[in-house]
């Protein structure tokens, strides 16, 4: 029961804080609308908002799929092929150093104004944390396990699939959590640069037409879905990795 009450209380508290800020700063409605105004806008436009939300969610999902697939394979390549390390590692770092906003227009020009460029943007943002965390995990396999495996005549392939990869999964999980948190950013940035649908587009559109209530409603919807996605992924990861020690009560340990 508490599990459901707690988030509701947090949300209610935030809404109250928001209203207090509006009162204290006497903010005009076209800069910071009061919660009531935003709620009204959501009620009036909820079908439009949800329609655009669907588009953005699709971009996020596809971006996560591509980003994770690319990230995992890159990490494996980096861990196993020395030349890959020399060539791929600098590219990896560069991909992160360049601000996404600068790359966005180029991607749009190459991939068009459809969903491909948005997915590419999200993939770009997700790729780095996934690759780095998984690569790190692969590199740092507990040496005792690899020693043991060697004395048991494990082949290189078995060492990888039975020892190194499972041992690196918790690190990958951390990377996935970060990736899930930043995926919406990639999708929305892509939409800002050129899109005709999606919550990012809706926010820009509403902003231009001075429909600040709608803009905030779209923004909050995006935040809501981002949180939901994060919790789904987090839960899924915890179920997939049941051996993580932090899950067990202290008295059962040595």
């Amino acid at each position: 029961m508490m599990r459901f009450i707690r988030p509701l209380v947090i949300v209610a508290g935030l809404v109250l804080l928001w209203q207090v800020i509006v009162w204290l700063t006497d903010a005009p409605h076209f800069i910071l609308p009061a919660p009531a105004r935003v709620a009204e806008a959501w009620w009036v436009h909820h079908l439009t908002i949800l329609g655009h939300a669907g588009v953005t969610l699709l971009e996020i999902a596809l971006g996560l799929l591509c980003g994770v697939a690319l990230g995992v394979s890159s990490a494996l390549a980096l861990a196993y092929f020395r030349p890959a390390r020399r060539w791929l590692l600098p590219v990896l770092v560069a991909s992160q150093a360049v601000p996404v906003f600068a790359l966005a227009p180029i991607l749009v020009l190459w991939l068009g104004y459809g969903i491909a460029s948005k997915v590419a943007m999200a993939t770009l943002i997700i790729y780095f944390p996934v690759t780095v965390s998984f690569f790190d995990g692969l590199r740092r396999t507990e040496p005792g396990w690899t020693d043991l495996a060697r004395t048991m005549d494990a082949s290189r392939w078995k060492m990888l699939t039975r020892i190194r990869i499972p041992a690196a999964l918790p690190a990958l999980a951390s990377g996935l959590r970060v990736a899930t948190a930043v995926a919406p950013i990639g999708a929305v940035v892509g939409e800002w640069v050129g899109a005709s649908a999606g919550l990012g587009y809706l926010m820009l559109h509403a902003n231009a037409r001075v429909q600040t209530g709608l803009m905030f409603a779209a923004l909050l919807t995006l935040a809501f879905f981002a949180v939901i996605i994060y919790f789904i992924v987090d839960n899924g990861l915890r179920r997939a990795l049941p051996w993580q020690p932090d899950k067990l009560p202290a008295h059962q340990q040595e």
């Binding site: 004395t151 048991m152 020690p245 040595e254």
Partner: protein, 240 residues
């Protein structure tokens, strides 16, 4: 064989003969190179210069060859946290791509007293239980030579005593090299006792007490053997 770290020889021209079917205990102060020696034999380290280890009648079996007939047990249990006890016991077969013998694995787990914990994850087991699973795993490998690197030193005194007995019983008849820092352990289960001392290190043998292993510490003469070992270990420690 020779091995050096950071330019200084740990040991040089070291000779070690292990009698088949006996448990040889290797004592020595920390840092003398006991674990390194063990790892060399296990094939986990490379020789510096010419080293040859003969196992059994096959004189050309050099130990850089990974299919040497050894099983390895370390101080940490090295249980894979994502496999349950049974899965860990059957690890060797899985790593070699062989079909694991479930019945045998369960039997071994029963023999170390963990029949009711087959499906437990290592994180739910105590230290002593985990090391027992490791022992079962070692037994599962069914190798003639077993290398053990201070396997019980991380456990509390009572658990240690129990596991020493268990190991002595279950591993009887195999050739064991047991590295330990505990002279009591050497005296209890070592059929031969070596002390490694000096830099570069050399081995010297010490006659063990009478009786079959596991020996009872309450036996007469046990204490004097213990005192002698301590005296020699102290001297060895001063040499490093």
């Amino acid at each position: 064989m020779s091995l050096s770290y950071a330019g200084a020889y740990l040991f040089k021209g070291l000779d070690l003969d292990l009698l088949a079917g006996q448990c040889s205990a290797l004592l020595g102060p920390s840092g003398v190179g006991k674990s390194s020696l063990l790892r060399l034999i296990a094939g986990l380290e490379q020789f510096e210069t010419g080293g040859k280890i003969d196992i059994g009648a096959n004189a050309s079996a050099a130990l850089a060859n990974p299919s040497a007939p050894i099983a390895y047990m370390a101080q940490q249990d090295l249980l894979l946290p994502w496999l349950d006890a049974l899965g860990n016991v059957m690890l060797g077969a899985r790593l070699r791509g062989e079909r694991p013998d479930h019945a045998r694995a369960r039997d071994l787990l029963a023999r170390v007293g963990l029949a009711d914990r087959e499906n437990a994850l290592p994180a739910t087991l105590s230290g002593g239980m985990r090391q027992r699973v490791a022992l079962a795993r070692t037994l599962m490998e069914d190798r003639p030579v077993v290398l053990m690197d201070e396997p019980f030193s991380a456990l509390d005194a009572i658990t240690r005593l129990r596991l020493q007995e268990l190991a002595a019983d279950l591993l009887r008849g195999r050739t064991i090299l047991l590295v330990t820092h505990d002279p009591m352990e050497a005296l209890r289960i070592g059929e031969r006792i070596f002390i490694m001392a000096g830099r570069p290190a050399l081995l010297s043998e010490v006659p063990p007490p009478a009786g079959t292993t596991p020996r009872d510490p309450a036996d007469a003469g046990f204490l004097s053997h213990h005192a002698e070992l301590l005296r020699r270990l102290r001297a060895a420690d001063a040499q490093i």
